[in-house]
Amino acid sequence: MEALQQQFFNLEIMRAAWPMLVDGLVMTLLICAIVIPLGLLSGIAAALLSLSHRRSVRWPAVAYVDFFRALPPLVLLIFVFSGLPFAGIRPSPLEAVAIAFLLNNSAYYGEIYRAGIQSIGAGQREAARSTGLSSAQTMVYVVLPQAVRNVLPDLISNTVEVVKLTSLASVVSLAELLYQADMARSVTFNASPIVAAALIYLVILWPFVRLVSRMERRLA
């Protein structure tokens, strides 16, 4: 028991690692501030393209979405970070993370928006068009707001997944929360810094996990 506490909940080591963890947390929040808005916006584009009436637009869009849903995010990130330099393109760790997450998130958010848009009956669209709105206005003011409301639990739950996935940035040595915690672990030979990082993730994400559970129960 003593050994467990020493190894996983060593308060002294946690306190010593705290400044590093705070730096890491700031970087994690910065990554989130870049990749979440990008994902939410590019997802709308992916959804609209994959619902296009033109087959020449729809099929490539669906292929894009399926391709990036099939490719593990870590493989994509490593490919962008250490594969592209062979082609003369050298992204920084943060740029690599932004690019890989943009490709991955647009596919995942895109699928969610698509389901939302499809859940809106054609009557809504026809009514909006008959009041004189253009088709773009219909999409922005009538269809999308209702679509987003219908898939809100899925959007939140995917955003939780995105925040969790930012921990992959540690693999390309971007100094975010997990990277800093792992550095502290390798210096102290003690897992407490990673446990502290886990607690930080838990504090940030647990309310959202609860929220999604409650929203989903209400819908079912």
């Binding site: 399926d66 099939a70 490719l71 969790k164 897992a191 994400l205």
Partner: protein
């Protein structure tokens, strides 16, 4: 290397689709793919079964058991799997429990999938109408019999689509094994890349992942229309 005489296209092919490099590292990449496939199957089977068992236990509504299940499911749904993997792989040996990279990935991802599967099965069980319970119990079935023979068959139908999506997402995370030195598909490819100084092994691995997972993504599309989850 007569790099100067290569056209841009030739240089691109030489970098990302180099036949000699691919031929040399193909055996180790195939072995890696086999490990990825093995761990994936283990994770899906154990994770789904454990999730189902936990959801059934929760149906008995024994307060302390329910509480523990909710804590387990919430914590593993909120934590990034890579964090848990590092704690298990680097922390446990210091208290005398050494797990191989293979076991670590299997256990952590299996438990993560179990957490999500438990929530999905539980949502399925609660969405079956209470009249079904009452009818089953009034014909003389015990609680357990009603759960197994009447409620679960209806609940599981509802869970197929979300469960398939979640299982695919978590199975893809077997690639995280590379971080703790597992020679899975990604691990074998990154090793080959650094030995050969060429991006072709990574390209082969990326293509192999798409070949492994694209059929599942397409099946999940079909499943979504076939077993539509109740929506508002």
């Amino acid at each position: 290397m007569e790099t100067q005489t290569l056209t841009p296209l030739e240089r691109f092919l030489d970098t990302f689709f180099n036949g000699t490099v691919i031929a040399r590292y193909m055996p180790s990449i195939l072995e890696g793919a086999f490990i990825t496939l093995q761990v994936s199957l283990l994770v899906v089977v154990t994770g789904t079964l454990l999730g189902l068992v936990l959801a059934c236990l929760r149906a008995y509504r024994i307060a302390p058991v329910t509480f523990l299940i909710i804590v387990f499911a919430d914590v593993l749904r909120a934590l990034p799997p890579l964090v848990v993997i590092l704690i298990v792989f680097f922390g446990l040996p210091n208290v005398g429990v050494s797990l191989s990279a293979y076991m670590t990935i299997w256990i952590v991802l299996g438990l993560t999938l179990a957490a999500f599967a438990e929530e999905i099965f539980w949502a399925g069980i609660t969405s079956v109408d209470t009249g079904q319970w009452q009818a089953a119990r009034s014909t003389g079935l015990s609680f357990t019999q009603a759960l197994v023979w009447v409620i679960l068959p209806q609940a599981v139908r509802l869970t197929v689509a979300p469960l398939t999506n979640r299982a695919i997402a978590i199975t893809k995370m077997t690639a995280l094994g590379m971080v703790i030195g597992l020679s899975d598909l990604l691990g074998a490819a990154t090793t080959a890349q650094s030995f050969s100084g060429n991006a072709s092994p990574l390209m082969v691995a990326a293509i192999a992942y798409v070949i492994l997972f694209l059929p599942l993504v397409i099946v999940s599309r079909w499943v979504e229309t076939r077993f539509a989850w109740k929506r508002a």
